[in-house]
């Protein structure tokens, strides 16, 4: 983010700090809107392969394969290409994959899943994101603390994670021209400030989001978090 060179020098550090925090807030808000959108309208598949006695169960490799099959049946295109095997100890190849966005609360479930390959076990991590935590067969998992969780929503009343598994171009974000992101700074004297005591800073953006094909985004629900 560009540094601000406005106002009295003593205020610039504060303003630049505020701008950085607003930038973080803006991006997280954009993510939250997209998350809420997918949570609201993606079709739903419960994990049923686990053994915790709940519905949905905790995620297992059979559930990953089920959602993979659904997306394949629906002609969903892969997002990432195969990570080929290399002659490196402790690594395993990763197949062509769909992307799964989920809460960081799912990490213990994934790490306990048979067949899950942690990112550091990939043969090559040059084509990965920092939020990627691993893959299983044909799904790669990307975790965020902002990931979707529905409280008390399982059959037995436990929290469930909404794990959005998407094929290529399954959903999109639309930004209105001129409204992508704005940082709004007002010097002292605005907004009921006749004695010119206070600066204000804020940000705004316009954003629309939608699923482009209802067959290409699946909400794979898991308990055990």
């Amino acid at each position: 983010m560009a540094r601000l060179e406005i106002g009295h020098e003593s205020n610039r550090k504060v303003l630049n700090s505020a701008a950085a925090r607003l930038g973080q807030s803006l991006r997280e808000t954009q993510d939250a809107l997209q998350r809420d959108n997918l949570e609201s309208s993606a079709s739903i598949i419960n994990c049923v392969g686990g053994s915790n006695g709940d519905i949905p169960t905790e995620m297992t490799i059979s559930d990953v394969d089920d959602v993979f099959t659904v997306l394949q049946n629906n002609s969903g295109e892969y997002i990432t290409n195969i990570v080929e095997a290399e002659l490196r100890f402790g690594t395993s190849p990763i197949g062509d994959a769909y992307g799964c966005m989920l809460t960081t609360r799912m990490i213990p479930v994934l790490y306990n899943m048979t067949g899950f390959i942690k990112k550091f076990q990939y043969p090559n991590i040059s084509q990965t994101l920092s939020v990627e935590i691993g893959g299983a067969n044909n799904v790669r998992f990307f975790a965020s603390e902002q990931g979707s969780v529905t409280p008390n929503a399982s059959m037995l009343g436990n929290d469930i994670a909404n794990c959005f598994v998407s094929a290529k171009e399954g959903y999109k974000v639309v930004w209105q021209a001129g409204g992508k992101a704005r940082f709004i700074y007002l010097p002292p004297g605005y907004n009921n400030d006749p004695c010119m005591l206070r600066h204000t800073a804020g940000c705004s953006f316009y954003q629309g989001q939608c699923i482009t094909n209802d067959l290409w985004v699946q909400n794979l629900r898991s308990s055990g978090i």
Partner: protein, 363 residues
């Protein structure tokens, strides 16, 4: 100089003969809200409690301060003050709604969808609840949200939309012990909804457990797991092939009409389901052994036809986004029945925001 409150807004409402809580949409979280009775203010022959209620942001959610007036004014007694910790003001950010405690139930009738419970505090007609771990009726436990259509204080709540689906053909078992939990659903609309029942008809009728967000002309799709029977209705978007040899259905279903009454939530779609497998909920045991929900999801043309009809889509369509693009989440001030005023009274609400709220600690 003093820094005044900024004025958020003013609203009015008239209480019905039996008071219910009011949901007041707001553009910001207020620091001060008051409600005043314009009908009974100063009416010496009318006992009215409260005629004035207020809440400050330093107070707990659900609490209130109130003034009531006695039926006759005697010397020195014109109003009396009261306060409470429930039934008052609750601020709700619908993008990050509050969670509520689960409440024990003793029985659910699978036909009438009357849920027997000793606690109905805070539940009003129109609220959404989730059923949890209902013994004997696990198939209706879990993520599904049900809308309350009647409340019998401290006795039961009725989930009338489920009862209407049962009248149409939905069969679920009677349940015994379990829990219900009040929930605020997300408000990205139109959204995915669990299906309660689907008829076998030339134009199938799809029933839901709560009011639905769909509009005539919209496209919808379904995901019906095998445990629910009518799998032929699944993933319609991928079923193409219009022409003399096309299968039924071809492509996503179009909504022909919508019903959202006090107890019926349904849509009629342009799919002939007479030859399909009957729709049926799995048994409690079958659901518990592993099943996904049967769902209806938006599949295109969310708010059209703008200029078409129920059966002929607008051309060109006005909006062709596929799903929940309409974010109706907002700030709400819920005014509970202890603060909302008396029956049939005209009420005014005013809300303000302070420039700052400081707690002063004396050394």
């Amino acid at each position: 100089m003093s820094l005044p409150y900024s004025f958020i807004g003013q609203w009015t409402y008239t209480n019905p003969a039996t008071i219910v809580s009011q949901q007041i949409p707001m553009t910001a979280k207020p620091d001060w809200v008051f409600v005043k009775d314009l009908t009974n203010w100063g009416a010496q022959s009318t006992a009215a409690n409260p005629i004035y209620s207020e809440w400050f942001s330093s107070m707990a959610a659900g609490s209130y301060l109130a003034l009531g007036q006695p039926s006759s004014t005697t010397t020195g007694v014109t109003t009396y003050a009261s306060q409470g910790t429930s039934g008052g003001f609750t601020f709700i950010d619908q993008t990050n709604p509050p969670t509520f405690s689960k409440v024990a139930i003793t029985a659910i009738n699978g036909t009438t969808f009357v849920v027997s419970t000793g606690t109905t505090t805070g539940i009003n007609v129109g609220d959404w609840v989730r059923l949890i771990n209902v013994t004997g009726a696990l198939e209706i436990s879990g993520p599904n949200l049900y809308q309350v259509t009647a409340v019998s204080a401290s006795t039961s709540i009725t989930l009338g939309y489920g009862a209407s689906a049962a009248s149409a053909g939905l069969v679920v078992a009677n349940g015994t012990t379990g829990y219900y939990q009040k929930v605020y659903p997300g408000l990205f609309l139109p959204n995915t909804l669990p299906v309660a029942y689907i008829t076998q008809a030339t134009q199938a009728v799809v029933y839901f457990f709560r009011q639905n967000p769909y509009v005539a002309g919209q496209l919808v799709d379904f995901q019906i797991p095998s445990a629910y029977g009518m799998t032929q209705l699944s993933n319609l978007t991928g079923k193409s092939g219009s022409g003399p040899f096309s299968s039924n259905p071809a492509g996503a279903a179009r909504v022909l009409s919508v019903t959202n009454s006090a107890t019926v939530s349904s849509i009629t779609i342009d799919v002939d389901t007479t030859g399909f497998t009957a729709f049926q909920y799995p048994t409690s045991a079958a659901f518990a052994s592993g099943s996904s929900p049967a769902v209806c999801m938006p599949a295109g043309s969310g708010v059209v036809p703008l200029s078409g009809s129920a059966t002929i889509p607008a051309s060109p369509p006005g909006t062709v986004l596929s799903d929940a693009f309409d974010n109706r989440s907002q700030y709400i001030m819920n005014i509970g029945t202890s603060a909302v005023g008396v029956a049939s009274a005209n009420m005014v609400v005013m809300a303000f925001k302070a420039d700052f709220v400081n707690g002063i600690t004396n050394a």
